[in-house]
Amino acid sequence: MAVATPLALLALWEVAARLALLSPQYFPPPTAIAAGLAESLVAGDLGEHLAITVARLAMAFVVAAVPGVPLGLVMGLARPVRQAVDPYIAFLFPVPKIAMLPFLLILLGVGEPAFVLTGALSAFFQIVISTLAGVQTMDPRLLEVGENYGARGARLFRAIILPAALPAIFTGLRLGLGLALVAVVAVEFIAAKSGLGHLVYRHWQMLGTVDMYGAFALVGALGLALTRGLRALQSRMLTWQEDPGRL
């Protein structure tokens, strides 16, 4: 059932392209795209580029999450830290990270560090903010109860605060990963020489529309797999939380 509409749309496209209602040069039939995709994956370098994009994404995510979650937690727990860091977060969060790209290119050169960092920055602020929110909006009664039973410091943190903040943290990580994917692919499209985003651009450059749509579809598949996968993971791991949310 869930695949009915997409399939119907694809069938419509196929027919339109074959009948030349849509220009087959710019909108090749989906079957041709699928065939090209399979061929590129098996015999060509499409698999390589997919791996590169995934690798950049993974690195961006790690670079964002490893400092991001602890920072968010500390900001939630220590007021002076929050006040010190807040201005930077507030200023940089709404900035399109792609606008930072030229600066990063000068600083780090045109290469992986700049691409990964742009992706990481996109995710970082979201993760920090969500984590902070998780700590700030936890039910204060939980804290009270914990303290009443003698939990202090590290114990209080591990047993009460962290689990209470976990759903928000997880949501932040999930959203952050999505943002990182968007940023990495966009950066690849604009400035890189490898990766799925670059492939879409390159094949657009050469008017190789079959390959272009193939790469495009792969980006969609990657995004879909990540969003669905993470949501499933979140429901599995945080069983007490009802709906992890649509996005």
């Binding site: 869930a2 695949v3 509409t5 709404p94 399109p96 903010i129 929110a133 692919v185 604009i190 969609g220």
Partner: protein, 256 residues
């Protein structure tokens, strides 16, 4: 020491120190000034760009594009979201399409759009509107669906139907989510328009930023970045303030 000073002191002092540090590093050569100009130089350039009208021109172009893209995505998105929230059939049909298309970065749609529509303002606006549309539609749909069914039941019980039910119950109930979606959608529109302007436009803040980088007019590049940052902040926090005004009953919970 008065509380407000310690409270906000850190918030002010640390960025000031950072800027001062940069000024010093650039002036003394620790940072190569030709690539990392002094903040004072950048500020001067920014002033020049304001006085000669360049900044106004590009900012206006970008804002107009955002406004159009936002309008399109908001109207279509809210309409679609409300429809999807109310009719299960529609939701089930469109959901898979949304799930696949939504995570794709908008800028990737540029080639597609450019095949359908001649390269120009329309193509830029449409590409910018894509992801925002999905965001708004999804959050609106969520907004409708999370309305407490008991409330709806009670209202129907008291005779509210169709349009009346919609305006009295569904719309206000969905409004906070709709607003969140609109706010996110606007933020996204800014992100995407900058990216699209980088790739395919001659005017606009993104185009100006990228051009400055391409001709290595670095001072202009930093100035452009600052303007984009301010714009982002203004849109994001502006809408938040607007929401506090219009929907005071909603507590801003987990999002800024």
């Amino acid at each position: 020491m008065p509380r407000w000073l310690t409270d906000h002191g850190i918030a002010v002092v640390s960025p000031v120190l950072l800027v001062a540090g940069w000024e010093w590093a650039s002036a003394t050569g620790v940072l190569r000034e030709a690539l990392f100009p002094r903040p004072t130089t950048v500020a001067r350039h920014l002033g020049q760009l304001v006085t000669d009208g360049t900044l106004e021109r590009h900012t206006a172009t970008t804002l107009v594009r955002i406004a159009w893209a936002f309008a399109v995505s908001a109207v279509l998105g809210v309409a679609t979201g409300l429809a999807m929230g109310s009719w299960r059939r529609l939701r089930e049909a469109l959901d898979p399409v949304f799930a696949v298309v939504y995570p794709i970065p908008s800028v990737l749609f540029l080639p597609l759009v450019s095949f359908l529509v001649p390269a120009g303002e329309v193509a830029v606006v449409i590409t910018t509107a894509v992801t925002s549309f999905f965001l708004v539609a999804l959050t609106t749909m969520h907004g409708v669906r999370q309305i407490d069914p008991l409330v709806v039941e009670a209202a129907t019980h008291y005779g509210a139907r169709g349009w009346r039910l919609f305006t009295a119950v569904l719309l206000p109930g969905a409004l906070p989510s709709v607003f969140t979606g609109l706010r996110l959608g606007l933020g996204y529109a800014l992100i995407v328009v900058i990216a699209v302007e980088i790739v395919a436009a001659g005017r606009g803040l993104g185009a100006f930023l990228w051009l400055s980088w391409q001709v290595l007019k670095v001072e202009d590049m930093y100035a452009a970045f600052l303007v984009v940052a301010v714009l982002g902040a203004a849109l994001s926090y502006g809408l938040a303030a607007l929401r506090a005004r219009l929907l005071p009953w909603v507590q801003d919970v987990a999002e800024r």
